[in-house]
């Protein structure tokens, strides 16, 4: 069997450098998240209070549980906020380094654009653009390979979902031109 043995090596030329400076510490992020959760708890709590948080003849009203859950969420976030302020350990922990943030953004921004394009051009066109664009621009893969992969993948998805399994995806002007 050892004659069938082959090494597989895949390199990552764009890997983030290990010594990149920090963008934020865990403490900062923890505080921000706690504040956001607190705001969410307040909004939902207020809405449920409006819906009704008492007990009527048939048990708790629709807002009863969500209201007290908002209180619990708010309380836990407040505790988290204080804990994060006091924590020395979290202050030392890195949330993300600059190089890492760049890489994460390199995925997140295209994903965001993809969602936006899906809204207007339909999923398949957006999918083609995302795959081709990402492979070419972020992955630095040859243009023909990128285009070919994008076309093939999008076509396979279209046949699988829209034709074979009757799961209908959002479509745009291009598909409409072909009568779909």
């Amino acid at each position: 069997m050892s004659n069938s043995e082959v090494e597989i090596v895949v390199d990552d030329p764009t890997a983030p450098e290990a010594d990149s400076p920090d963008v934020a510490s865990n403490r900062v992020v923890d505080v921000v998240v706690s504040l956001l959760l607190l705001a969410l708890a307040a909004t939902l709590g207020w809405d449920n209070w409006r819906t009704g948080i008492g007990w009527d003849s048939t048990g708790p009203q629709p807002g009863y549980f969500p209201f007290y859950l908002s209180v619990v969420l708010g309380g836990a976030s407040l505790y988290g906020l204080v804990a994060a302020f006091l924590s020395r350990k979290e202050a030392r922990e890195t949330f993300v380094t600059r190089a890492q943030a760049r890489r994460v953004m390199a995925v997140f921004v295209p994903t965001l654009l993809f969602c936006l394009l899906t809204q207007f051009l339909g999923l398949y066109v957006a999918s083609f653009l995302l795959i081709a664009g990402f492979m070419r621009l972020v992955g630095k893969i040859a243009l023909w390979k990128s285009l070919l992969t994008a076309v093939a993948f999008t076509a396979v998805m279209f046949v699988t979902f829209d034709i074979a399994f009757d799961v209908i995806m959002p479509k745009g002007p291009l598909e409409a031109a072909f009568g779909y």
């Binding site: 069938s4 629709p62 549980f65 969500p66 505790y79 795959i131 990128s146 995806m169």
Partner: protein, 505 residues
């Protein structure tokens, strides 16, 4: 034997060309998502779930459970060949699997992994086969108070037994419960927390959240790391397979012990991760030469794989029987059941016999077909890892979007998925656990409905939760578990026995 007759009936339902083709398709897709970095079992199942929406529920669950088996097998491939555990529970497999691959015994290690997965699942399926009829006989005892008590038990065990900071578990769970309440309240027929938005009317779908929380956020996290990898390719010849199988009887103690640990932890909410470590550690402790573990010993592959699969499979029993998912993937399958309009719980065994036994039969068949499939196709799947991540990442994003959209045909859900992706990324980094969140999202409204129906029934009297032996003991147990950390301190030695995760380290 009632179970046997029902099982045969289940096989009869399955043995059609159409179902067999679906099984193969499911397995191939499953192995695919198991091997791809950044995907893995639960995500893969969630993304591929929409494929099943236009099928009848039985075909759908057959395909899904095959995707699940495929993903489990796929995880083993990357652990052994590349030292990359596809799932947390394959971590223990890498301890001895990768050294074996380095020594040129990759084929042996893979065969061992696949075979032991097969054995582990088989033991668990046998257990399900014989326990399922008992459940249906006790199904009618379950009214709203009993259901609520069971949900309460699940929530309390998470808060009480979780190892994360308590306030973070509470944040995660209360957020999940709140989001589960968005939309229409079934008991009063009123809308709440929708802020007049037609998009929020249908509520926040659990599966959309999962795809975002695990799929999208996983890609963001993966990008942070260095993606270079180095591994071994291997083809499996029949000779190797037979020689491994010939030696199997020698390891029957390990296999049996791991199966037992797996089943036990799968049914109680211990999970496959704890099971795989415990299986490995115990095999090491009971070995004559524990030092040889970690250096490429075949038992080190058998033990964790058997336990992980026994646990992953038996986790389906509480999911089907009580509506409580014992694992992440079981939670997704639970979400799927609800999409098809099947209500998991004891009544499922009474109302949808065909479905339950079709599923159980598909576990047997899926395992056999899966074993053969992976043994013959390993080289093809191993080479998937050569595909650069820059090509894989956008494809995963597209698959996630398709999955999220198809659940309710809503563009809004794609945005929701993106939002949950960011939330998942941030939460994972600052240590807010995601498991309680997903659990709360999937069970939240059912728990609330059960509570309120109990209240309507009893006229607002809380004593209903202690009104008979069944519901009383579950409720009491739930409250005990909630205060477990306190009790644990009081009876320290007892605690160590109950918490296997600690043993695993």
């Amino acid at each position: 034997m009632e179970a046997f007759g029902l099982l045969l009936h289940g096989f009869a339902v399955l043995l059609t060309w159409k179902t067999l083709v679906l099984m193969m398709v499911g397995l191939v897709l499953g192995i695919f998502v198991g091997v791809l970095p950044g995907l893995g079992g639960p995500n893969g199942v969630a993304i591929l779930l929409p494929l099943t929406f236009t099928m009848d529920p039985t075909s759908a669950i057959v395909m899904l459970s095959c995707i699940y088996w495929g993903a489990l097998f796929g995880g083993a491939i990357t652990s052994i060949l590349f030292n990359i555990p596809g799932e947390a529970w394959s971590v223990a497999t890498t301890f001895d699997g990768y050294p074996m691959a380095q020594q040129g015994r990759a084929a042996e290690a893979l065969t061992a992994a696949f075979t032991s997965s097969f054995i582990g699942s088989l033991v668990a399926v046998l257990l399900i086969t014989f326990l399922a009829p008992l459940i249906s006989s006790f199904a009618l005892k379950f009214g709203p108070p009993e259901f609520f008590a069971v949900y309460l038990l699940t929530f309390c065990s998470f808060v009480g037994l979780g190892r994360e900071a308590k306030h973070k578990t509470v944040i995660s769970m209360s957020l999940g419960l709140l989001l589960a309440g968005v939309g229409m309240d079934t008991v009063s027929g009123q809308l709440r927390m929708t802020f007049g938005s037609a998009e929020l009317l249908r509520g926040i779908n659990f599966l959309v959240a999962v795809i975002g929380l695990f799929g999208i956020s996983e890609i963001l996290l993966t990008m942070e790391e260095r993606l270079a990898l180095r591994g071994h390719a291997a083809a499996i010849s029949l000779r190797v397979v037979l020689s491994v199988w010939k030696d199997l009887p020698k390891y029957w103690v390990t296999l049996l012990r791991s199966s037992f640990i797996g089943c036990w932890l799968g049914i109680t909410p211990g999970g496959a991760i704890a099971a795989s470590f415990m299986g490995y550690n115990l095999a090491k402790r009971f070995a004559k030469d524990p030092d040889s573990f970690g250096k490429g010993r075949i038992e080190g592959v058998f033990a964790p794989e058997t336990a992980a699969h026994a646990s992953g499979t038996s986790a389906l029993l509480p999911m089907l029987a009580l509506g409580i998912p014992g694992s992440g993937t079981a939670a997704i399958l639970l979400g799927g059941l609800m999409v098809w309009g099947l209500n998991p719980g004891p009544l499922l065994f009474v109302e949808h016999k065909d479905f339950v036994w079709g599923l159980i039969a598909s576990m047997y068949l899926g395992n056999v077909v899966g074993l053969i499939l992976v043994l013959t196709t390993v080289p093809i799947f191993a080479s998937i890892l050569r595909v650069p991540f820059a090509a894989v990442a956008p494809m995963i994003v597209v698959s996630c979007a398709i999955g999220a959209y198809a659940i309710q045909n809503a563009m809004f859900d794609i945005w929701l998925m993106l939002g949950f992706g960011v939330v998942g990324y941030v939460f994972k980094k600052i240590g807010i656990p995601l498991a309680p969140f997903t659990l709360a999202l999937v069970l939240g409204s059912r728990a609330e409905d059960a509570f309120r129906l109990s209240m309507i029934g009893s006229g607002g009297d809380m004593k209903v939760f202690w009104s008979n032996g069944l519901v009383g003991s579950i409720t009491t147990l739930a409250i005990l578990l909630l205060f477990w950390p306190v009790l644990d301190k009081a009876f320290g030695s007892l605690g160590r026995l109950w918490r296997p995760a600690k043993v695993a380290g």
